[in-house]
Symmetry: C2
Subunit: 299 residues, 2 copies
């Protein structure tokens, strides 16, 4: 089955202690769409300006991403610029130019409205809800978020949470949202806000799923070198949703393995700037790391 | 087979945001010995003063810990007092009274010198080496450490490392020792310092083993409530060494499972002050959590 993915489509200028890379293809939806495309057909919903490089359109197409829902408007593409510290864990934003993203209203083409698997990648929760309003009867709806929305759009996010099957957030965002230090207590509070499935992302420490069938401790693929972690969380959730949509059987039967696949795609994402490494990956490379993770965690 | 454990034997006064507990049984060797005792006979080497409460001698004996190597000297038992912050991750030392520990020289009874499994729990590396000097031909020698020794006794520690099979340290200590941000790079540097086996402890994120047979990602048992994490690392390594000594076959065949058992004992340790929870645990409680961890990590 295909996955509908809405989120940001951007140009990222990323500075690390070792290099500087201007105007890479970025944004939550770009990372999630490429990650999902290894497993399922993807329908992308987003907006770019008329300055958006043609090579990036080609790159989406190479991954067979359906671009019917990608608006190309007069103006500038959303541009984010950020800098990572030496340990690659902390980053600071140098510049945010919203461009055409400032007035973005995601509109679903008719053919997208009956999608079964929906990923509301990180954008304003009001826009995530706006997409859901246009859907007929999706089977499984997941959303990601970021600290910004917890700070400036909490009411919108709380409304959205009631409509989700799965909410994905990182450990510090879980703490911000629930004020709970203990992960179990945080997860319990999030379930009460709506979603039956909650995933807490912990970066290089992996992730944890809480679901109707219990908990799952999902490993991160250990990396010898992290080049640029931008988009790793989006790749994780994109890869996971792509794999989930491709698998037969129930979500409960498949979500653990789907998370492992997401984790592996995220590991490739970290090995290059922007999407440069991810877009070089073959399905067999992914399968190899999944098998390695099986060995690395077996006891 | 039995495990010889040398380390500190102390009285710990522990303050957390919710409670204050004076003069609990503590010290690296106490935690490690009780943890190991669930799986193998334990020989303890340490020192206490003549103020050491009889109830704690009884507690060791309840766990069938061989106390031939425990010196009881005139003077005061090592007393440590510390305070945890709200999130239970950061602690600060309020008071350290070394007492008889100041001049401690671990002397092995004749019967201990041919021990096969040796755990040099956290004490000064010169004392850890002094114990090794008295051993005949141990089969597997593991050592733990702490940031203090990296700061004030690095030369001694580097000498010790050449004589170890396994070195256990936490992630921040690995960074201090190697100046490497990446875990793989840190581990490679530590292997070059001597030990064939390296374990990096990551608290509630579990631990990672690097061994001649490759890597293992060991999960932490997820806890609903952490009461007092003091001694969790000692319990982990003690439980692991106890399990390793109890298992048939090679270290390579057994060390992953041994780590999981250590991880489970450490989880119990965190659920009570000092050793209060650990000493209530039955073997069947441990087996139950090991089975749960199997389910929590399977995909």
């Amino acid at each position: 089955m295909s996955v509908l993915i809405v989120g940001s489509t951007a140009l990222d200028s990323i500075k690390t202690p070792k290099a500087e890379n201007p105007r890479l293809l970025g944004g939550s939806a770009s990372h999630a769409a490429v990650a999902a495309s290894f497993f399922s057909p993807v329908k992308l919903v987003g907006v770019v300006g008329d300055d958006f490089p043609k090579k990036y359109i080609q790159l989406y197409k190479k991954h067979r991403v359906d671009l019917q829902g990608l608006q190309i408007l007069p103006g500038k593409t959303f541009h984010w610029s950020g800098e990572y510290e030496v340990n690659m864990n902390n980053r600071r934003t140098l510049l945010t130019e919203l461009g055409v993203f400032e007035t973005f209203t995601p509109t679903l083409p008719r053919a997208h409205q009956n999608s079964q698997f929906v990923l509301l990648a990180n954008i304003a929760p009001s826009l995530q809800s706006h997409v859901l309003n246009q859907m007929e009867r999706p089977k499984f709806v997941a959303a990601d978020t970021m600290d910004l929305w917890l700070n400036i759009a909490l009411a919108d996010l709380l409304k959205l949470l009631k409509r989700l099957d799965l909410f994905v957030l990182n450990d510090s965002e879980a703490h911000m949202l629930t004020k709970q230090d203990n992960m179990f207590s945080a997860i319990q509070k999030i379930h009460k806000l709506g979603p039956k499935y909650v995933i807490i992302k912990k970066g290089s420490h992996g992730s944890v799923l809480s679901s109707p069938k219990g908990f799952f401790i999902c490993p991160a693929y250990p990396l010898h070198k992290v080049v640029d972690p931008t988009g790793a969380g989006d790749s994780f959730v994109g890869g996971m949703m792509g794999h989930l949509a491709s698998a037969r059987g129930s979500v409960d039967d498949n979500i653990r393995r789907a998370m492992v696949y997401g984790s592996v795609v995220a590991s490739f994402c970290c090995e290059g700037f922007g999407l440069t490494r991810t877009t070089m990956v073959k399905r067999s490379d992914i399968e190899k790391r999944v098998r390695e993770l099986e060995k690395l965690t077996r006891f």
